[in-house]
Structures are given as C-alpha cells and as structure tokens.
C-alpha cells in the first residue's frame, strides 16, 4: 500500500502565483486533512474533509481552498501565493474523525514563496 501520497515534494512559487498541492490516499479513508508546519512550530490544521463533497475550515484556512470530489483525492489550492505561505504542507487521512484515531501522513510538500 502506498498510503498517503503528496506531490510535488518541493516547489518554489513567486508572489501572486497559484498552485495546487495534490494528495491521494489508497486506504479508503473518509477523513482527510491538510496541515502546515512552519519552521520551529507545530502542525496547524488548514482544512479537513469528512467525505467526498464535504469540506470544512480548520485553524488557518485563509489563502487556501480545497475540494473533495472523490474519496481518494484531496487537493489544496493556493490562489495568490504570499511569503507567509512558505511552509511544509502535510496531507493526512484517517478512518475516523475521533480525536484518538491514528492519522496517516504523507511525506510533505516544501513550499517556498519568493
């Protein structure tokens, strides 16, 4: 099993550019999440989804959009990149929304906005 796969692994964007971070999972998990990790900080939840067609905001959603058209895929869209969005982005999935449920993470996308 591949688990959670994120692409690309690295990206440099110019201010104002747009991009989509891809995330796909093959575990048939209903619940998927996007986190960002700034240097020296913990992970912060950007958006989450409880199933195809259903998404909701997390702690730091501004500047991002998501969609969930299938169970497997949960892309994260940056419309107008800003230096404050320089971070490492992690996608995760779980079989339950319960707080004690193990979440499986992708390898991360390191994004630099210049």
């Amino acid at each position: 099993n591949a688990g959670v796969t994120q692409t690309p692994k690295f990206r440099i964007l110019k201010i104002g550019q747009s991009m989509t971070l891809q995330c796909t999972q093959d575990m048939n998990h209903n619940y998927m999440y996007w986190y960002r990790q700034d240097p020296g900080m913990g992970l912060k939840l950007i958006y989450y989804s409880v199933g195809a067609g259903i998404t909701d905001k997390g702690e730091v959603p501004n500047g991002y959009n998501v969609s969930r058209s299938t169970t497997e895929d949960f892309p994260l869209r940056l419309e107008l990149a800003a230096p404050s969005q320089t971070s490492v982005y992690f996608c995760a999935s779980s079989y339950s929304l319960q707080i004690n449920t193990e979440a499986f993470f992708g390898q991360g996308t390191r994004l630099t906005v210049v």
């Binding site: 619940y31 913990g42 992970l43 992690f90 929304l97 707080i99 193990e102 499986f104 992708g106 390898q107």
Partner: protein, 111 residues
C-alpha cells in the same frame, strides 16, 4: 497562545538509557493525548496515545504518563536506540476532530 507546550527543543541521550520527553497543556477540555514521531523529509507517524481516563499507557519500549492535575504528560523510551532519533510531537484534543500540536522535541540518541 500555545495550548500544548513542549519546552525542550532538543534532548540528547546515550543508547540504552531512558529518554523522557515532556509536554504541558493548558486546555482542561482535552480528552486525548497523542505522540507522533517524525524523521527528516518524512511525514509524522503515530506512536502512542492515552485518554484522559488513564494515567499510563504502554507499548513495548514506549510508555506515556498523564498527570491531569498538573496538565502534564511525558513519553518514556526505554531503552533508547539510535533509530529513535527523530522529532517527537505531542498532540492533544477534545471531543472534536481538532488536534493541537506542540512545537516538537528533537531527540538524538548517541550510539
């Protein structure tokens, strides 16, 4: 406003000795506490968890202790191995989906 604090950015121990990683939280509504481990260039992986109704949970070399009155939890690794060298994140949450993560502690186990 940090609700989950890992005050030690780094910890260095000798192989075979005990590693103790600490975590403090401020939100008394937190029900579950989890530890994740992260190697460089990889995503975090789940290590161990504990619910607020327990004060200890053990899984092999890893034990998590919870002191609710002090709002403190700790992760003990015995014996420590070089392969345990990683960043350890403490995470806590209540009855919803939202996990709050600490900043992490970099553990280095010297051979």
């Amino acid at each position: 406003d940090q609700q989950v604090k890992q005050n030690s950015p780094s910890l260095r121990v000798q192989e075979g000795r005990i590693s103790i990683l600490n975590c403090d939280y401020t939100n008394s509504m937190f029900d579950y506490f989890l530890w994740y481990k992260k190697y460089p260039a990889e995503g975090p992986t789940f290590l161990i968890s504990i619910s607020s109704i327990k004060d200890k949970n053990e899984d092999g070399r890893f034990t998590v202790f919870l002191n609710k009155s002090a709002k403190h939890l700790s992760l003990h690794i015995v014996p420590s191995q070089p392969g345990d060298s990683a960043v350890y994140f403490c995470a806590s949450g209540g009855s919803n989906y939202k996990l709050t993560f600490g900043k992490g502690t970099l553990l280095t186990v010297n051979p």
